[in-house]
């Protein structure tokens, strides 16, 4: 084992300090209160109840959002069914596509507003919201719009037809992107939608409802019901839903799969992950260090496909860990609206508590913790980027999804050991491989049981690229040609 200073030290140590560069939030329009978006307009919930949505970076209330109960969900499903039967399923596919193109364009036009609200409501750095979430959301609509009148070419010798009314439940880590990711293919395939955003991040979905209204999408084709888990549960259990698309935790996914048993409803599940990011000794180490940072600290680690396990070849382990710690110290943590910010706020108090319990557990189980020493703001929910060394395969921080900026580092000697450690998990969503040797990429990539393999890169997404897990990371794919079948009946 090599020890001491790495041969080539990246020099992050400059005399320059970043000045604050906050994005002005006054361009974003947030109403004081939002109803449910049903039948093309915002309506008051039958439940009569609203809940606060806060900015996790300041804990200040941003708006009040309707809490839909089973009656509200029923109403939304009825409206969606009507829109399906009377309008959307009868429309010429090319026209359907044109509506979806319109949505894509309006999102692009209002991109700044979306980026700001996404950052305010969810805590993610504006740089990520601006450069990733919002453009990708528009791209998802643009890509799928074109499929609307071309579906026959996607499935040779079969006749695709829409599923009907689909219920979609999305998480809080990429609120707008997940909404786009779900709604766009559903519409392109001729279905109507009832979407439930996550409780803590409803605002951009409601702003998307405005876009949908402004695009003159026929009333009732997309309906958005906000609320907590009980709203989602009402949607899953509604008799007149033909398909459920869920992104969230494996535990909830399991419950949904169980409760859909025997109903004949289709489902796709995008669930948790515990991806191994494998660094071989022959990798370009400095690039790999950047890759590790992106893999685990992107979006505060609130990413189901995050590279939360680092497997590093023993001969370069010390070098990689040293460089990684140095690089972590340069990460800028704080105001999500600041354009220099790398690490924003943890999405909610509940999530922060969960992450902190893993930090404690990790140490109690005997691992060694390292955290960025950067000071975090006094208000809001914050977790400094964290890594654990001296971890064993049996440790909770290796086996369980933390969903935060927490990296568990293990070492290996041989390729086979790396593969076997990478696969030693019930999850199978993604995996990373870093090496300059092409044949090794194909070998390792082939043998990792996961739906997405990033080789010499990590956390890349595109609407043309199918995404989804093996094993307990989910069922089905979203995006690309392969994602279409989830929203079609194929005879």
């Amino acid at each position: 084992m090599s020890t001491g200073e790495p041969a080539h030290k990246l020099n992050y140590d400059t005399r320059w300090e970043y000045s604050p560069a906050p994005e002005s939030a006054d361009h974003a329009r947030i109403d004081e209160q939002y109803g449910l978006f049903i039948g093309g307009k915002f309506v008051a919930p039958k439940s009569g109840e609203y809940f606060n949505t806060i900015n996790p970076a300041t804990e200040k209330v941003l708006s009040r959002v309707a809490a839909a109960n089973a009656d509200d969900v029923n109403n939304a499903v009825k409206v969606a069914r009507g829109a399906y039967e009377n309008v959307w399923s009868k429309m010429r596919p090319a026209e359907r596509g044109k509506y979806i193109f319109r949505i894509a364009r309006i999102i692009q036009e209002r991109s700044r507003e979306f980026a700001i609200i996404e950052s305010l409501d969810g805590g993610k750095p504006i740089r990520e919201a601006r450069d990733i979430d919002v453009p990708l959301a528009a791209a998802h609509f643009f890509y799928h719009a074109g499929w609307a009148d071309k579906l026959d070419y996607a499935f040779p010798c079969r006749s695709p037809s829409p599923v009907g009314v689909v219920g979609q439940i999305i998480p809080w880590n990429f609120p707008l992107l997940m909404a786009a990711w779900k709604i766009a293919p559903a519409l392109a395939c001729g279905n109507t939608v009832v979407l439930k955003p996550a409780e803590t991040t409803s605002l951009t979905a409601l702003k998307l409802a405005e876009v949908i209204r402004d695009a003159d999408l026929p009333k009732g084709v997309v309906n958005i019901v906000t609320g907590d888990g009980s709203t989602g549960s009402a949607l899953v259990q509604h008799n007149d839903i033909n398909k459920i698309a869920f992104t969230g935790s494996t535990d909830v996914g399991r419950l949904i799969q169980h409760s859909l048993a025997g109903t004949g409803k289709k489902y796709t599940l995008e669930l948790g992950g515990k991806a191994a990011n494998i660094i071989f000794a022959d990798a370009p180490i400095d690039q790999a260090v950047e890759g590790i940072i992106n893999a685990i600290f992107f979006n505060q680690g609130h990413v189901c496909c995050a590279g939360s396990r680092l497997l590093v070849q023993e001969s370069v382990a010390d070098q990689v860990v040293t460089k990684l710690k140095e690089r972590m110290q340069t990460l800028i943590i704080g105001d999500p609206l600041d354009k220099n910010t790398d690490i924003g706020a943890i999405n909610s108090a509940a999530q922060l508590e969960r992450i902190n319990s893993y930090l404690e557990l990790g140490q109690n189980e005997g691992a060694e913790m390292f955290q960025c020493t950067t000071k975090t703001p006094d208000f809001g929910f914050w977790c400094p980027p964290t890594l654990f060394t001296q971890v064993a395969q049996s440790h909770s921080i290796v086996r369980e999804e933390v969903f935060g900026p927490v990296l568990a580092i293990q070492t290996f000697r041989t390729v086979d050991e790396a593969i076997s450690k990478a696969n030693n998990t019930q999850y199978g969503l993604s995996g990373g491989v870093w090496t300059d040797k092409g044949s090794k990429i194909f070998n390792v990539g082939k043998n990792i049981r996961a739906g997405v393999i990033w080789a010499n890169t990590f956390n890349k997404f595109d609407p043309t690229s199918p995404f989804g897990g093996y094993k307990e990371s989910g069922v089905g794919r979203e995006g690309g040609l392969h994602g279409l079948s989830a929203y079609l009946n194929l005879d």
């Binding site: 025997g262 890169t457 307990e472």
Partner: protein, 318 residues
Amino acid sequence: MDKKNQKRTTRNAKQKTASKKAVSTKIKRPAVDTPVEKARLQVNKTYKLYINGKFPRTESARYYNILGADGSMIANMCRASRKDFREAVLAARKAQLSWSNASAYLRGQILYRIAEMLEGRADQFAAELCATGASKSAAAKEVTAAIDCLVYYAGWTDKYQQIFSSVNPVASSHFNFSILEPMGVISVLCAPKSSLLGFISDVAPLIAGGNTLVALASESAPLSAISLAEVLHSSDVPAGVVNILTGYRAELVEQFASHMDVNAVVYNGDDTEEIKLIEEQAAANIKRVIIRRQGAKPGPYQISQAQEVKTTWHPIGN
């Protein structure tokens, strides 16, 4: 037992004229009017399970009877236990990596080899089908259809990937492609009435796609499936790739759906109660549930439905 045997022999004698052209050594039994000094007692086959390339009896040592169309006893079948199933899953898991990594060309040749071996034993399979009630012409037709089905999927092994994989034009500077990979270990509940053709239609597309499996043969018509194990055994199908159990569906169906090291369960049939049970149990490990209704059309989609999609990204640059 003696009494029973006697009854069987008598009944067989009555039947003799009707089925005198039956070829199988198993089914044809000596007629009672053969002079004793010339009589030769037929050697009957013991039907066993097929696990890990071997033919064990059920560890439970239990049995159940398979009756012919006329009610006569044809065989004591193994009534497999949950433990037999677990053993079979172990074998299928052990065989999974090498079978899924076998080249498409090799898998194609092995499927074709199964067809060759079956062709050579067509008469035996036809006789078995006749014994359980099929007419002679229907039996012959089923056997040839089964052989042709194997040849059909043998030809698909190196083609489905080209049809279902894709290069994805991502907007960033990356090369991005999606390919199919087998789901892994699959438990298969064969259709209640499926015999030879049904069994092969259930199983061939799964192994063509690199999966390994444990199949529960039709409870009432398991003969062909178990005899097919002998064909598989002599066709270079590696041990553990196909494992076949016989037994009571009701006492095994839950295990087939709930086992934590099974990646997918394929259900052939349309019993809504069973489907519900299977789907509930499958949730334990987010198992994929593939429901095949009767009369599903053969084709590459039968292969792709038991495949995962894997997408790989790599930067383009210097």
